[in-house]
Amino acid sequence: MLDDFDPVLTRIRDADPASRLSVDDATLTRLFADSKRPRPARHRKLILGIGLIGVLAVGAAAPAAADVLRAFLAQTGTFGNAIHSEEDNSEWIDLLAPDAREYIASIYPDDLPMPPGTDVATFRLLVADKIIAAARATSQQEGGVGIQQQRTGLQRSFEQTAYGEWIRTWLVADKAGDVATRGAAAAALQDACSWPAFVATDGGGVIAQMQTFADAAGDVDRDGVQAAAQYNLVDGAGGWDGIDRNWWITEHTP
């Protein structure tokens, strides 16, 4: 306990930089309530795959032996600390390193289910290129800063892109009356709720939101799947039709 009779400590206490801080209870109450709320907005940021600091708390096991081995310049050798709000304990990857593209392509999850006809070799490079292009653009905008992301976040980008392709597959099959393909896509969207990087990086409510989309796909609720396309930025042919369906998301947000 502080010795109140020590003039030196009293003087330091009186010089507290927070002594002039004031905050009203209503603000704190709102902040407290917000901290427990699902966060679709954060998810959207993560979809872009360039979040510098994730905020998830998952088990803080030691890095797997394979993760410790450094085979690429892009590997920083610095690992996250899940307890202290980083995404997990996976390695931070330098997205501006000369071999970042090769590194990202190398961590493509081989068991990731893809729609029929997908050229996996092309897909993994496309995702890698998209991540690097966004990182370079961000770096340029910010005056040449370095850009790093954790390995798990990069794997989430693969999952996120595959997820979008399954949404597109569902919408195209539904329009064409291809019941079998639509059913396969609905099953994949259901399965996506347990994909490892999604689960590991769920900042709160994302998986629950994905579950509502999966249910919509299973129930052949086209508005729901279009809402999923809108939410996940599935643009282009067979993707979001441009009609705002935030009402659907609002109604179905858990």
Binding site: M1, L2, D6, V8, L9, R11, I12, R13, D14, A15, D16, P17, A18, S19, R20, L21, V23, L28, L31, F32, D34, S35, K36, P38, L52, I53, V55, L56, A57, N81, I83, H84, S85, E86, E142, G144, V145, G146, Q148, G203, G204, G205, A208, P254
Partner: protein, 168 residues
């Protein structure tokens, strides 16, 4: 099912009861160590999110909860600073300096006196004098053993007494 409903009503109430009173002290903790104040608010918000997500390991006693919460706050603060450092692409040495800094106290003599302490000693004093922790508790947050905390704190006080004694 939402994340909120995974917790029983009693458990959710227990979380609210012990964490809600820590909000102002935690905001003050950040305001002492980071500027602008908006960043302190962001850090508080981030800390609450992490506390909520890790609520299944909420310690049983209020004392332990407080120490646990400040341990997480310390990590959030480190991440915020690390993010800034990445952002500013500064060298490791400067990172170390900034990661150990506290916001300047309103009394410049006190600020100078504190700055003459080592980073860990300065943070130890701040945790005790401003954040209200006991010596051993503050040391635990910094990863120090109780004996080490006591000797560091004693040494820091002696140095502060000499420095500030010259300026009274």
């Amino acid at each position: 099912m939402t994340a909120v409903t995974e917790l029983s009503v009693d458990e959710a109430t227990a979380f609210d009861d012990v964490i809600r009173p820590l909000m102002k002290p935690l905001l003050a903790y950040f305001a002492r160590r980071i500027t602008p104040t908006e960043d302190a608010a962001d850090c508080l918000s981030e800390t609450l999110v992490v506390l909520w997500r890790r609520r299944e390991v909420l310690p049983a006693s209020e004392e332990d909860v407080r120490r646990w919460a400040y341990g997480i706050a310390k990590g959030v603060l480190a991440n915020m600073r690390r993010g800034r450092m990445r952002h500013q692409a500064l060298a490791g040495r400067l990172r170390d300096e900034v990661s150990a800094s506290v916001v300047a106290p309103v009394d410049t003599d006190v600020a100078e006196a504190l700055n003459q302490l080592g980073a860990k000693d300065r943070e130890l004093v701040a945790l005790i004098v401003w954040d209200g922790f006991g010596v051993a508790e503050a040391g635990a947050i910094l990863g120090l053993k109780p004996d080490a905390s006591r000797s560091r704190y004693s040494r820091a006080r002696a140095r502060l007494r000499v420095t500030l004694g010259d300026r009274q």
